[in-house]
């Protein structure tokens, strides 16, 4: 659970960062949400693959 919390915080930081780095002001929210979904989903999947029974 703590692993998940850290991954979500890191995913949120990186999503906002890359949204501001790469998108124009009108498209930032959509890019940020897509990035967050991808990063959080990736972290969940990785966590499950590494520790499947915990």
């Amino acid at each position: 659970m703590r692993h998940l919390a850290h991954m979500l915080v890191l995913a949120a930081i990186l999503s906002v960062f890359f949204a501001f780095l790469f998108a124009e002001s009108g498209r930032r929210l959509r890019l940020g949400l897509k990035l967050f979904a991808g990063l959080a989903g990736g972290a969940l999947l990785l966590g499950y693959l590494m520790y499947p029974f915990s």
Partner: protein
């Protein structure tokens, strides 16, 4: 003439000066390069995120990299990435380890000073702390984000990006 040569020729001295100045200021303080280039919103966001990640890294007992003879190329690249955080990096390093130690080279042969050896020992002990790996991830993320911020400031400075 290669495309990169063509691009390089198109840059005026003024553009290069602006790009270098913005990049340097961005290295000094995260986001300051964007502020100089009149992008206050981006500057505030970048400053906030880099500072937040670095703070979380320190709070969660993260470690900064040192050049290590067991993996010389990768660890040197990690040290270079850490240095992208700017003058704050040696300050954090000194606060965490008691000395700004950057290399493990010479540790086995006894060529390092007593101060450097003590700093490396302090660093090694932090690996056993509970949140160390998460803290290290936050610290590395902060350093790499600032590297991208510096490159972005350069791009805006030379007029390649709005």
């Amino acid at each position: 003439m290669t495309p990169s040569e063509t691009r390089a020729r198109r840059l005026t001295a003024e553009q290069v000066r602006r790009g270098l100045l913005a990049g340097f200021v961005a290295w000094l303080i995260p986001g300051a390069g964007h502020l100089l280039l009149r992008r206050p919103r981006r500057a505030a966001v970048f400053f906030g995120l880099v500072t937040l990640a670095a703070t979380l890294g320190v709070v969660f007992d993260g470690n900064l990299a040192v050049a290590d003879p067991r993996a010389p190329v990768l660890t040197r690249l990690q040290v270079a990435a850490d240095l992208a955080l700017g003058p704050a990096e040696p300050v954090i390093r000194t606060a965490l380890y008691g000395a700004p130690v950057y290399s493990r080279f010479g540790l086995e042969s006894g060529r390092l000073s007593r101060e450097a050896r003590a700093a490396l020992e302090r660093r090694e002990r932090r690996f056993f702390r509970r949140w160390n790996h998460y803290g290290t991830a936050y610290l590395l993320a902060a350093c790499l984000m600032n590297l991208l911020v510096i490159l972005d400031a350069w791009d805006i400075g030379i007029g390649r990006k709005d």
